[in-house]
Amino acid sequence: MDTALIGWSRAQFAMTAAYHWLFVPLTLGLGIIMAVMETLYVVKKDDFWKQTAKFWQKLFGINFAVGVATGIILEFEFGTNWSNYSWFVGDIFGAPLAIEGMLAFFMESTFMAVMYFGWKKVSKGFHLTSTWLTAVGAAISALWILIANAWMQHPMGMEFNPDTVRNEMVDFWALVTNPVAISKFFHAVFSGWEVGGVFVVGVSCWYLLKNRESRFARQSILIGSIVGVLGTFMVMFSGDKSAVHVAKYQPMKLAAVEGLENGGPRAPFSIVPGVEIPGMLSILATHDLEGIVPGVNDILSGYIDNEGNVIPSVEEKIERGKAALRSFQDYRAVRDTNAVMAAEAREALEQNMDYFGYGYLDEPQEVVPPVGLVFWSFRIMIGFGSFCLLVLLLALWFAYKDRLSGKTWFYYVSMASIPMIYIAGECGWMTAEIGRQPWTIEGLLPVKAAVSSISASSVITTFFIFLAVFTLFLVIEVRILIKAIRKGPGIDEVLPDIK
């Protein structure tokens, strides 16, 4: 197997996803904020809210274009770079992507055009509905993408069919109600609310620092911080659920996240290397101090889980996986000629099917993801995310009590929190996606068995083309956003206490 091809295919997908996730959270969060602002305009009939909503909608539009540009590449990269994957699980994985297009993406893009161009062309009510449908469409879009992603982390609702050589969906409801999908959806969408909140607060603080657009900035901070705080609390709640799911379904990822070599009951939570809280990891991961959290070595050598199940060693899993592959080959060889042998081979395959993906591995160590990267990504996510919550809470307090004036230090902190929340989001995805290596689908298909048969040089070429294009887009977008922010909404109505 061409390791360069696998590496570059992963790099290309990761790079595209990383760029995509720079734009999506703001779409999710800012969508809600601008919809709330426009609702205030319709309810209060105050033109101030119209201008305020229009300004944030302008920034939303700039951000949206690059989001869809990177998103389309992601969808098609499943086919271009992960060809085996596309057939092996396309029967399940393709459905959420198609439904996303039909149900959500059309809604988002159709009503965004009305929102952007329709101010003088449609009624207030229809315009407001369009703005909300744009925001809701973005969230529904995220829902289906995350259902698809969650299925890769915790596959369910399917059966392997050796005749068609693929996994086939048998329970769509299981796919949709996958507990990992639900926690992922809330975690990702509400993290977008936090990003939107931090972005709006940070930008608004810049106006306060420059003593411009005072009313606009104060009201935006109030709305932005409410949405941001609500979102962050939901992120924390769903994050707790997510930790329990990871402990249950992806124990190696959790071990990597914690840098836990040897686990067991009363497992410690590592704040940073050398600073631990005894028993905290067991509580977080299992909601029980005596809950067993296996470490990397436990998983490699086998352990007994919290339900008393004996989890075999990775070496044994690999052996059983190879037995599954042999049984599959045997079945294919005799299925048309010897029904008895075919039935035996199929039975043997089914006995080892749970470890099918392990059959492609050579060494037990292959199941260990890059621990250092995952460990620090998680901590940066938690650290920066928590810091931004503090900023949002302060912003809410100051805005609610009308004490935003003259807090220069807070203006700077708020502005600095914008890059921090983006880094937190990127680190969150790094934790989730690098933490599940080497699997494209947990336990079922490692990346090296999922990749397309193309030359590494082709992938390297497209990697650098997309890297250059996306980087150019990012630079231009940031420049345009800064330019639009500098220009401002032009409302310029100064409140009494500023005077």
Partner: protein, 381 residues
């Protein structure tokens, strides 16, 4: 009775419908391809960009949904074609990526060089995207160089679909039929772009230029259409028998046309409507601005009928020229019956989606764009 066979045909119908809608909505690309040819002044170029710029998301979203629907319903095509004809699909995607940002970015950077750069990106997308999509679709009839071996999943380093050469799809350009198809689609989208702008822009001086340009482009389109259809109908096709054995059949697509009267009627009706649209735009002083609608419906019908010819009536829709038994047909490349049933329920949303698109479209386009509107509008590209 909804059988597995019916579901496969139903999903090919959905794919065909999305393909037809995509080609129609690529009037955006057709308009953009002519920004510099048609727009003699900055105001006119602004009219073109703002006219197509209010619809670009539809073509883009339809492309995404087309890809998603193919993935969900015919995943073996998704894995074989996208992973194999790598360069063709990557180039198509790259041009759409450039388009997606060009509207928003062109004026906001505040530098004339960037305006020119992003407009050229729109032109590149306007020309290359229809050409490459046309060339890619033509391989449904001409075939591609690949081998499929599903049993390879039992090996340590599995490869299900292998492309037969290092050109990864670009080798299709060695076949004149791909050029004909690609250029025909470029000419068609240019015609549709002009028809759309005649409907969407109210400017008598500009309309005269649009209609004058249409004379040249429509003649080019009709000639290319006749040539590309001739090349298909006179070619051998890939027939599939009841046992799933694929074999070459002389004039297969012509046979399909004669053996499927409904498809023949759809094809002829589609062609007729396109011709009606072009004629109205060229010769009717009263209805020229409405010409996009018959031409648009005709385009959808014609493209759908071509997809039907490629996939129905025991035809391999993605033939392999290097290993004919690796050719993809509906039954060997589709999703499971369960998935197709689930997806069929989900597809019931499509009429509602089309309905709100029509409603939103009409809301925005109630009044055509004018120079005066653009001179004062805050929301413009």
């Amino acid at each position: 009775m909804i059988t597995y066979d019916f579901l496969q045909h139903y999903w090919w119908f959905i794919i065909s419908l999305l393909g037809g809608l995509l080609v129609f909505l690529m009037f955006v690309q057709g308009g953009n391809a002519q920004i510099f040819m048609l727009g003699k002044t900055e105001a006119e170029r602004g009219l073109i960009i703002n006219s197509t710029g209010r619809k670009w998301e539809y073509a883009f979203t339809t492309l995404v949904t087309f890809g998603g629907a193919f993935f969900a319903s015919f995943p073996l095509f998704y894995s074989t074609s996208f992973g194999g004809a790598y360069w063709v699909w990557m180039l198509i995607l790259l041009t759409f990526v450039l388009q997606a940002v060009s509207y928003e970015f062109q004026h906001r950077v505040g530098n004339p060089r960037w305006v020119s750069f992003f407009r050229n990106c729109l032109v590149i997308n306007g020309l290359l995207a229809p050409f490459l999509i046309g060339a890619a679709v033509s391989t449904f009839f001409t075939g591609s160089d690949f081998v499929v071996n599903k049993a390879a999943m039992g090996e340590m380093n599995p490869v299900i679909s292998v492309w037969g050469n290092g050109w990864h799809g670009l080798e299709a350009l060695a076949d004149y039929r791909c050029w004909l198809f690609g250029l025909m689609l470029v000419a068609l989208t240019m015609c549709l772009g002009i028809l759309y702008m005649l409907n969407n822009i109210s400017d008598s001086e500009f309309s005269v230029r649009l209609r004058h340009r249409l004379r040249i482009v429509s003649v080019g389109f009709i000639l290319l259409f006749i040539a590309s259809m001739g090349s298909i109908f006179l070619s051998d096709g890939y027939a599939v028998n009841a046992d799933g054995v694929v074999a070459l059949e002389n004039y297969k697509y012509l046979h399909n046309l004669s053996q499927m009267p409904g498809v023949s009627i759809l094809f002829l009706l589609g062609v007729l409507l396109v011709l009606v649209g072009l004629s109205l735009a060229l010769f009717s002083e009263r209805y020229y601005s409405k010409a996009v609608w018959p031409a648009g419906v005709g385009t959808v019908f014609t493209v759908m009928s071509l997809f039907f010819l490629a996939g129905y009536n025991g035809t391999a829709y993605y033939p392999s020229t290097s290993n004919i038994q690796s050719s993809l047909y509906l039954a060997n490349s589709c999703s499971s019956e369960f998935t197709l049933r689930v997806m069929s329920v989900a597809s019931l949303i499509i009429p509602f989606v089309l309905a709100y698109i029509v409603y939103a479209w009409r809301s925005i386009d109630r009044k055509p764009i004018t120079r005066e509107e653009l001179a004062t509008a805050e929301e413009k590209y």
